[in-house]
Symmetry: C2
Subunit: 130 residues, 2 copies
Amino acid sequence: MKIGELAERTGASRRLLRYYEEQKLISPGRSDNGYREYAEFHVGRVMQIKGLLDAGLPTRIIRQILPCLDQPRSIYFDDLTPEMVAILEREHDHLTQRIDCLTRNRDSIADYLATVRRMKTTGEAIDRAA
Amino acid sequence: MKIGELAERTGASRRLLRYYEEQKLISPGRSDNGYREYAEFHVGRVMQIKGLLDAGLPTRIIRQILPCLDQPRSIYFDDLTPEMVAILEREHDHLTQRIDCLTRNRDSIADYLATVRRMKTTGEAIDRAA
DNA sequence: TTTGACCTTCACATCAATGTGAGGGTCGGA
DNA sequence: TCCGACCCTCACATTGATGTGAAGGTCAAA
């Protein structure tokens, strides 16, 4: 599949797909004419990159952890240095922190919305006294 | 408390604290000499901002949802426009998506690390065949 | 009273993630 | 063969979150 189709299927711009490649997050092949050639699995891959990016991870980190997240592992265990394990552990903890922070804030929003809805139905009694 | 102390207690640079103010995320008072004067609750507030920012939310969104997350509500229910409710609902869903994405990826890392550890103990049998 | 450690504003620098456009090939169909 | 819709590279622009430094005011302690 060429870049246009991948762009359409993932919602990422062509420019962005080239940027991901420049950042070594994806490595499409090339056909004879120089066009990038993407495989089916690149669709999921791009979605994953977009998600991680949107969640605040920089490409630098994504590049490091991505090879470990593939289903048929693309990095093998004897290639794995202690440094790499340390990075993964650190990122694992970091992700957990982010998740906790987001969860707390999301729940606060939910609480707030729930309160608003309760107010709306039980009458407009506002506790300005708080 | 002055900006230096707040910076030290929150781990945010002075520059950043001024930036947050410029972005209307915090509103310290001023003493006679023009120095910013922060209250105790600003410590938590800054941590929350840092967390949200680190998790990928732009200041624009943080500014919108922050007033709703305070414990003594600083925004009251009759001030709340339908547009604001819509924004909160949208952000709530968006946060949920982010959380799911991060959770999936964190769990993948955990799986990977678990597999690595299993390999280390049960011998170096590598499934290159995958 | 001077020095050092604060604080102020202003402004330019940087990095990551993007957009946008120029200048130019490739290719399939009218 | 020519047009339109693709693709390429290169490169400059922008936005958001920061760093950094200049030029200067405040204040406490020596």
